[in-house]
Every structure is written in C-alpha cells, then in structure tokens.
Symmetry: C2
Subunit: 383 residues, 2 copies
C-alpha cells in the first residue's frame, strides 16, 4: 500500500491534535466541561462563517442541515426558488418536493453558473416565494456560485429568505455570511473544517428565526431548530451530540482561528490557481464555467475512463481524488484545495496526473503541469 | 480531579481499541475498505439485536432513529398507540403529534410498567392503529417493560406494527428482536454498545418494509429508510456517515461478539441484582415498579437534594451517575449496569453512596450495602 493522500472534496485529512482528541475516554455532555467546549466551538464557527448570527450544531451529515433549513423555513404548501445545477443543488429541489413545498426551478446544465439577474427576474415573477435555496460551491461540478451577487438579487426583489448550502465551500473560500446577507448557511464538518463527518452547522439570521417562529406546523423534531435554540440558551444540544467529533472540531478550529479566514481564503485561491495553471498546461478542460476556489473538477481526455484513471492514481501514489457523479460519471476527476492540502500536494498531484496521462498514451510535454503550477505559486510569493 | 468513573446510563466508557480506532487518519467512505467495515458492523449488530432483519445505520442520536420509525411507518393522519410513561416514552407521543399522527395514549405514572392485557384491550378498541410504540428500558425511570408480553398482545390483536425504543437497553439486557416479534427496533451507539454517541440503528422487519413501501408520502429525506435500504444494497449509506464512530463501533462489537449475548445479559442481570441488594440494604427505594436489568434508578432519602448528592459523589470519587428528569428532578439517581461497568464498579458505587449517606446524617449500618452486594455476587459465583 502506498501512503494515503486523501485529496477528495471531503472527507479530508484531520489534524493530529483533532485525531488525538477523539481517542480521549468518554465524557458526559451535560457537564460544565463539555458545555465550555461546545461554547468555544460555536464561537469559533461564527468566526469561520463571518457571522454574528446564532450558530447551531447538529449531529448529522450536511444533508441533515439542508433538511433542517427546508422544513423549518418553508411551510408545507409554500413556494421556494431553487437554483438547480449539479447533484447537491438538486438535493434542495428533492427536499422541497419531499416536504410538500413547490420548488420553482432555475435550472442550468451541470457546470454552469447562476446569473443574479435571472434570479431577480424569477423572484419578480414569484413574489410569494418564501426562500431561495442556493449553493456556494457545487461539489459535483466544481462551480463556485456568485453568492454575494445572488443575495443582492434576492434582497432587492421581495421578502424571500436566502439559504445557502456552504457544506463544502465554507471555511475554504470567501463566504461573508452577514455582509452578503445569507439568512441560513449550512456547513458540514468533514470539508474545510478538517473534522471527520458527522456534524453539521447552521447559521440562522434574526429574519430567519422570525420565519421559523411563524411556522408552527413545521414537520421537524430531530431537526427542529427552535429546540436547538432553546437548548443552546442553556449551553446544550437538545439531543445527545456526537461528542468525539465536537472535541475534534474544537482542535481543528484552533488551527483555523490561529491562521485567520483571510489568510485561509487566500491560500485556497492560490492552490486553485496553481492547480488550474497545471491542468491547462496539460491541455485538459475545467468542468466549471465559474470554478470555485475550494476545489477543481477536470474533464479527462476522451477515451480515458475515469474509474480506471483514478484507481491507478490511488494504487500508484495513494492519491485519492473524487470521480464524477450523475451525467459526469467516469468523465471527470475532482480535487479539493482546502484543509491540510498544501502547495506541494497540489504540485505532486499535477505531477502524478501528468505521468499517468503519458502512460495512457496522451501527448503532453513532460514537466509542463508542475512548471505552470510552480510559476503560479512563485509569482504569488514574490508579490 | 479524581479519576473519572462515568456510570451514567449513557454515554458510557468506550474500550481502548475503539478509542484508538477513532484517532486513525481520515479515510473515504466510498471505498472497499470502509464498505467492508460497515458490512462487518451491520453483521455484528444483527447478532446483538438477535435478528435476521435488515439493520440500518444512521448518523444521528437515537432520537433520529425514533423519528425515522415514526415518519416512515405511519402516514400523516394515521393513528398509533403510544405506551407513555417517562421522558423517553413521551418522545414517541411528541413525535406522533409533530408529524400529524393521532397518538392513542396508554399513559401511566412515571415508574409504572405497562400491562400486556391493557395493550390488547386498547388495540381491540383501536383496530385501525398502524403501530404500537413502546420502550424496552425507560432510561428516565429505570423500568424494564415486558416487551415479549406486549408484543404478543400486539400480534394477537390486529395488524399494528410493533416498534420498540431499545436505545439504551439493547445490548445490555435480553431483547430477542425476531423471537419477540419486534417489527422496528431503534438502538443508540452510546449505551451498551460502548461506542460514543452519534450513531443510531434500526432493525426493520419484512412487514415493516411493506408498510414503508406503501407510504409514498412519508415526510422523510435524511431519515428516509428506503434510501438507506437502497444504499445498503451497494454496501453504502445514503449520506456521508460519521466514519470514526463506525470504526469505533467495529472494535466494540468485536468485544461484544467474543463475549456473546447470553453471557452479557447474564452479567447485566447480576450487576443489577447486586446493586439493588445493596440499595435495599441501605433502606433506599427503587424508582421502578419493574426494574430493568440495564440500569437502576433510586429515590434519595427525603431531605437530600439530588444535585448536591451527585455533585459530591463526583467531586469526591469521580463517580458520575445521572440525576432525575422531569417530575423526578433532584429526587433520584440512576446508574447503568452495562458496557465496561463491572462488579467492582457496582460495589464501589454502593460503598460511595453509603459513605455519603452517612455524611449527610442518614443512619445506615456501615458496610451494609457492599455486604449485600458481595453476597449476591458470591452466590451467583457458587451456583
């Protein structure tokens, strides 16, 4: 077995201190010690989300946080605008349909980016929409959507709340919850927060709380956000939380806060730029019309099967990238630029991709990818 | 700080091997290795639950599994019988109400045990009830309900499915899912399974699956059991699972399977008997009319505040027991008899309780509690 290089857009590597924290013998959660750690974690998350809104911690995957946003905010029979392009954006639509909410879709082909002007037009047409559901970084396509612009379109066209799936982007790439006017932000633990999967978070604005309070028949118990808010007022969670994951997150957040969000966003941007410079030097095509900082999705050359390529990459070098989903199954690979992944990881991955392409009989200039990546990083170092 | 002795009925101490498993660097879940571990875990859980029914793994607290049972089995507008006595049984009722299900209550005061004959009568009166919701071990009162007897009453009186909250009892005390006719069994990770909180499990009978399939409008996405079954057919979970907790569970299950369920049930029964012998020797009163094997709840003498007593117990000896909830807040203490807790822990706790009672000015014969407990254990060793 080669060494493991887990570079998928989640789960991602976890810092040693966070791993160690999980191996600590069990503690009870209704204790001053755990309450102190939980409070510290929630304060840290506010810093990462750049928000003064209340932050809630759920013991579930990110999908649970998405469900919580849908069922708490929009009553059965209500209407919502869903920005639907890619596997995860599509989940907003399915959630709406599951809970009897009419989803007005702004649908685009995979890889495309939503235009704020079209969101505005849709809201003028559907003034009764209770919420707009969007995605910061669409992990299935690598698109980074214009959340600031879309939010302005939402705010200028009625009373709809703006809800963003930031599960995999937040903590990696710029996301200013309050400044951008995000009413509900959903985030997952196993991405840029460098914590194992099993926790999800929601930052909820005062306007969103008012809407939740005015929705007494919300079909929610485990995901009833008012129960979380009430428990939080006593420093607790309403149900037993996944304690070791909270302890791990406390450690990862120390690393993140020490670094600062601006510095982390800049580093993510640099890794993305370097990786893309290398990918373009190889003549490969990016999958996203508007690539996110937090990851890159790349089309493989015609005739190379994605599974075969990624299996060989892992077998030879332990590099685990993600493949394509849905219509892009077998056609793309996806690499994260967040968490513990650094410049050398990006350059090493470019090197490995280049080597494999050569072995698959694709004509590339040896060293071209890493040269382009190095140049990009060096330029940034000089400036 | 004294050493930690966490003896609450969950969370409970976790074996060293399970703790170590969590500190392993992150792995991806869509891999042959994780699928192998998940399959091993599900096979182990079937052994613990004594079932051939399909077992599903959710990343949530036990409450999530309860919600999943309710929303998948009973359609909005349907009817269910709820055996309601204690905080956790009451959760079945609240879940039904939340999701628009009419809950016919068989309500008893805290500490009482349900009678199968009355369940039968209720079902004859409500032949249209889709399900009966019951509790194996009511953690708020320490009652162990007659699940085998209640199940017979259910099966002999109509078509209602029998659903049991076994969150804290299963794995500690006898529970024969298939033999007893439990259609849906909900279990949590942080109790007798000796794993941290954050995972929940459901064992689902063929009859329950048919009911779920016939309930197309179930308000469930994160807890949609058909999605779990479909993912499971490919060895997966539908959403990213709490990976480190699954790795921990795999280790804890090795310990449990090596021991065997009959042996574990017998040990739990012995610990309960020894603890109760000691408690009775102190002149204290059990809270449960039908005490569960998995834990004991005890009334404190009049005039001793529960919080003060438990705080001193923890400060002096690191023994953490649980206090009372709801109407019994400040009036009882609760000790688990499962997991890593052994005979010496039970005897030490009796000793500490006795010592504190003396210090609080209660007249007890020094050594009486531990003497009664020892005698009980020694008798069992001789037989």
């Amino acid at each position: 077995m080669p060494k493991s290089r887990l570079f998928t857009p989640g789960p991602t590597f976890v810092p040693e201190a966070a791993l160690s924290a999980m191996s600590r013998q069990a503690m009870h959660h209704r204790t001053p010690e755990f309450r102190r750690i939980l409070a510290e974690v929630l304060a840290g998350l506010k810093e990462v989300f750049v928000t003064r809104n209340e932050v809630l911690l759920l013991s579930s995957s990110g999908t649970g946080a998405m469900e919580a946003a849908v069922v708490n905010l929009v009553p059965r029979g209500g209407k919502a605008v869903v920005l639907d392009s890619g596997k995860f954006a599509g989940r907003w639509r399915i959630l709406c349909e599951t809970f009897g909410i009419r989803a007005v879709r702004y649908e685009l082909p995979w890889g495309a980016a939503f235009e704020p002007a079209r969101v505005a037009a849709l809201l003028r047409e559907h003034a009764d929409a209770a919420a707009v559901f969007a995605t910061l970084m669409e992990t299935s396509t690598g698109v980074g959507h214009d959340i600031a612009g879309i939010s302005r379109a939402v705010k200028e066209n009625g009373e709809a709340l703006f809800v963003v799936d930031g599960i995999s982007g937040v903590g990696a790439m710029e996301c200013r919850t309050d400044e951008w006017g995000i009413d509900v932000l959903a985030v997952g633990s196993q991405k840029a927060l460098m914590t194992p999967p099993g926790l999800a978070f929601l930052a909820v604005s005062p306007a969103a709380w008012r809407r939740i309070e005015a929705n007494p028949k919300r079909p929610a118990f485990y995901f009833d956000l008012l129960a979380y808010r009430e428990a939080l007022s006593g420093g607790d969670t309403p149900y037993t939380p996944a304690i070791p994951l909270v302890l791990a997150l406390a450690e990862s957040l120390k690393t993140i806060r020490a670094r600062g969000m601006e510095a982390i966003w800049a580093k993510t941007r640099l890794l993305a730029a370097a990786f893309r410079a290398g990918i373009e030097a190889l003549g490969l095509k990016l999958a996203a019309a508007r690539p996110a900082d937090g990851m890159t999705a790349v089309f493989l050359p015609e005739g190379i099967d994605g599974k075969t390529f990624l299996d060989r990459l892992e077998k030879r070098f332990g590099i685990k990238l993600a493949g394509g989903q849905g219509p892009w199954k077998g056609k793309i690979f996806r690499m994260a630029h967040f968490g513990l992944i650094d410049e050398l990881d990006v350059l090493a991955t470019l090197t490995a991709v280049e080597l494999l392409l050569l072995e698959f009989g694709i004509t590339v200039k040896p060293g071209a990818a890493v040269a382009a990546g190095i140049q990009c990083i060096a330029e940034s170092g000089r400036s």
